[in-house]
């Protein structure tokens, strides 16, 4: 068997187990904090800020000089003219009573999931209510099954994406509210489907914020404008 001595000038240790370990242990704590807690993150920050400043600062999206959000963080939409994101269970302080926490969907200051288990009555009741609301908003038949991502809360509460099925189910409602033709919205939606990475990883999905920004910049068609006028 090969000998795995670490150095040729090894010194046989006749030291008792504890002897001389105190200061090296204290020094190791200080030395390693400087290397891994200070130098490493600062060096990484320096290089990242120089080479990839857009992503390193949060992938922020600007519109007319105003930061409207981050490309990777979801935000809340209730307007009928926009595609709606998945349910979010994040909380925030009540504006009327700072001591009280209330539901503030897509509060990126404190991420949160529901953490409700599969046999939790509250979870099933909440989902059933969301299904009813979703059918009503999108004018779906009363027995239509709703894409599961549209009625379940994400893990982070900040999910920026919805499934393609979920987006398609909302397209007609968005077109009507905006006075656009269905095919216009459908076309824009198709352009905004993000595929699997390398054709393999993850799921096909639609980034709600980016799609809604694209919707806002779409010109209203002549046909649709006439319909609105009437």
């Amino acid at each position: 068997m090969n000998d795995l001595n670490l150095s040729n000038s090894v010194r046989e240790s006749v030291i008792s187990p504890l002897n001389g370990l105190f200061w090296p242990c204290v020094r190791s704590a200080i030395f390693v904090v400087v290397v891994t807690g200070v130098i490493y993150p600062l060096l990484t920050t320096g290089v990242a800020q120089r080479v990839l400043p857009q992503q390193a600062n949060g992938s922020l999206i600007e519109k007319n000089g105003v930061t409207v959000g981050s490309a990777v963080i979801g935000q809340f939409f209730t307007d009928m003219r926009y595609f709606h994101p998945r349910p979010s269970t994040t909380m925030g302080p009540d504006p009327h009573d700072a001591g009280k926490m209330i539901a503030v969907p897509y509060n990126a200051g404190v991420s949160a999931g529901s953490n409700q288990g599969p046999t939790n009555q509250a979870l099933i009741d909440t989902v059933a209510q969301r299904v009813i609301d979703y059918r009503k908003i999108n004018d779906l038949p009363a027995n239509a099954l709703v894409p599961v991502d549209a009625v379940t809360a994400s893990g982070s509460g900040l999910d920026p994406h919805i499934s393609v099925a979920n987006a398609q189910a909302q397209a007609a409602r968005v077109a009507e509210a905006r006075g656009l033709t269905f095919s216009q919205v459908q076309q824009l939606l198709t352009q905004h489907i993000e595929g699997r990475v390398l054709g393999l990883l993850g799921e096909p999905r639609v980034n709600v914020l980016i799609l809604n920004i694209a919707l806002d910049s779409l010109p209203v068609s002549a046909d649709a404008a006439q319909i609105i006028d009437k």
Binding site: N57, N107, N115, P118
Partner: protein, 568 residues
């Protein structure tokens, strides 16, 4: 469906090739006679002699004392948060019991968190306390695995290496370079890396949205490569800033598996028994694949109660279907299932979905893997745990044929078996003992987020995660009470050191033995038969010990779910 299976196959194939490369690199780091310049400077800074040979007791003490010093420093820095810089949000310092819990959790590679990162830590403490302790715990774990393998490889020797050399080599040759490169890939994919703490966006609907930023990428790398798992943000790797794309998700998975899988190759190289190394790798892989199939199947099948409520859980080309509660759209079911299996197999504890919201059988998988604690296992310790089961396997095989068992050419005798059994028994004793205590504790009910069998699963999960040094949680369960902070903290320390130290003693004991030539009565351990037997022993020992507890939690809940029984 087919794409999902192809996804799994591609990830596991990539893991295998990376294991070979990293395994060789680690073997060189453990064996090399040359010190790098930075390493020599490190020894000088520490005031240690890299030539000193350490017996297992001295090696273990160096590990224990330096970790204690690191934990104390981490504790102090957490307590001083309010006077440290980079605290734009003005977060107060952690309380004494919380800071103790946090420091103990991160130094033991558990990374259980009783706090929400983005709303309570500053960028300074995320760096100098959390990132720092993650490096310490993981590097120490790999160093000990190196000493352990060396102990198995040596004959008639009193020393198993030098702790400082092992620690510094793992730090400088593996952890730091890998983390630096990976951090830049992560930033490219959309992870923030800045010293500023926040920015404000005005959403399209005119609402103010506060975005929390910080040195996230440099944190995420060591979190996964080091099988640590504590989140920068409360929702961990489900948070888009911690895991922005399916690519980062896959890199997280490969990072977690990297060192645990590579150590089987390192072992094969250092002992000149490559086949034996692959047998261990195979045992890991068989268990991993089985658990992956279970959680993927359960989550894809979904929750029948959601279908009854009107949700469409059928997989199609336009949606992943399945149980999407607590999951992120970009990962869907398949990449979530792969992450769940990896994070609890490799005892990282990072989560990309809320485990509390998994289906009962889906939630059983992380529980069972942490109970077995050797489906790849954490950096260093996973391999040591598997060897512990391997020694148990040759012992049982030896009993059956009435001969003194041998393992790797060494006689396994009473002393080794006693130490192995101490390590094997401490794990379930801590998990089941604390769970029993908590089940009787009058205030436990108030901490539960879910009731019925799922409530019991929440308690069981907390102590399993703590003892296995995992750190993931059924996170609805509120553990920030003095009772839970203390008992889970104790479970973490017991789980870490009362399994690591006995096994280090086994290594020391085996290193001192002579090699015996293999005879006709020797049970060959580098065969598929031994692999099967090893997996069998792991499952039977784990199964017999934990099955009653699992029956009370996830198994009952599965039946209740199918029967449509709800708990409020």
């Amino acid at each position: 469906m087919e794409l999902n299976l192809l996804d799994f196959a591609a990830v596991l194939a990539t893991m295998t090739s990376l294991a070979v490369i990293m395994g060789r690199w680690l073997a060189r780091a453990f064996e090399s006679k040359n010190h790098w310049l930075v390493e020599r400077l490190s020894y000088r800074a520490l005031g240690v002699d890299p030539g000193e040979r350490m017996g297992w007791a001295r090696y273990g003490l160096a590990l224990l004392l330096s970790n204690a010093a690191m934990m104390a420093l981490g504790y102090a820095l957490l307590r001083l948060q309010s006077v440290l810089p980079l605290n734009d949000l003005g977060n107060p310092a952690q309380s004494p019991d919380l800071a103790f819990n946090t420091a103990a959790s991160f130094i033991t590679n558990t990374n259980w968190q009783s706090y929400a990162g983005e709303s309570s830590l500053s960028n300074a403490t995320q760096m100098v306390a959390i990132t720092y302790l993650m490096f310490c715990g993981a590097t120490a774990g790999v160093a000990v695995a190196g000493a352990f393998i060396r102990g198995l490889a040596r004959t008639s020797s009193q020393d198993i290496g030098n702790y400082w050399v092992d620690f510094m080599r793992v730090l400088w040759r593996v952890m730091l370079p890998l983390c630096f490169v990976m951090a830049l890939v992560y930033v490219w994919q959309g992870m923030p890396q800045t010293l500023s703490s926040w920015t404000i966006a005005t959403t399209l609907e005119g609402v103010r949205q506060q975005l929390i930023l910080g040195p996230v990428a440099s944190f995420e790398t060591i979190k996964h490569i080091g099988t640590n798992g504590g989140g920068f943000f409360s929702m961990n790797a489900a948070h888009p800033f911690e895991n922005p794309t399916p690519l980062t998700n896959t890199l997280h998975i490969l990072s977690m598996l990297l060192i645990p899988s590579a150590l089987t190759v390192t072992f094969g190289l250092l002992l000149s028994k490559k086949r034996q190394g692959w047998v261990f790798f195979g045992a890991f892989l068989v268990m991993f694949t089985g658990f992956l199939a279970l959680v993927y199947g359960a989550e894809q099948a979904g929750n029948p109660l959601l279908t009854r409520a009107g949700a469409d859980q059928v997989i199609s080309s336009t949606q992943p279907g399945g149980n999407m509660e607590g999951k992120e759209m970009r990962f869907g079911i398949a990449d979530t299932a792969l992450f769940v299996t990896t994070t609890t197999g490799a005892t990282t504890g990072s989560v990309n979905a809320m485990h509390d919201s998994l289906t009962p059988l889906g939630g059983l998988v992380p529980l069972a893997q942490m109970m077995l604690n050797c489906v790849f296992g954490g950096d260093g310790v996973g391999f040591i745990n598997l060897i512990q089961y391997a020694i148990l396997t040759v012992f049982l095989a030896g009993m059956m044929i009435g001969r003194t068992p041998e393992f790797l050419g060494k006689k396994i005798e009473a002393r080794e078996i006693k130490l192995v059994m101490l390590s094997v028994l401490v794990h379930p004793a801590s998990i089941l003992g604390f769970t029993a205590l908590a089940s009787l504790w009058p205030d436990t009910g108030a901490s539960l987020a879910n009731h019925g069998p799922h409530g019991f699963s929440e308690v069981l999960y907390a102590y399993t995660s703590g003892t296995a040094n995992n750190g993931s949680a059924f996170a609805g369960f509120n553990t920030s009470t003095p009772f839970f902070n203390t008992t889970i903290g104790l479970a973490m320390l017991i789980g870490r050191f009362l399994t690591m130290l006995p096994m280090l003693a086994v290594a020391g004991s085996l290193a001192a033995k002579k090699t015996v030539a293999a005879g006709p009565g020797t049970f060959p351990t580098a065969t598929p038969l031994f692999m099967g037997l090893l997996v069998f022993v792991v499952l039977v020992v784990g199964g017999l010990t934990f099955l009653p507890a699992l029956a009370l939690g996830p198994l009952v809940e599965q039946l209740q779910m199918l029967a449509g029984h709800l708990y409020s």
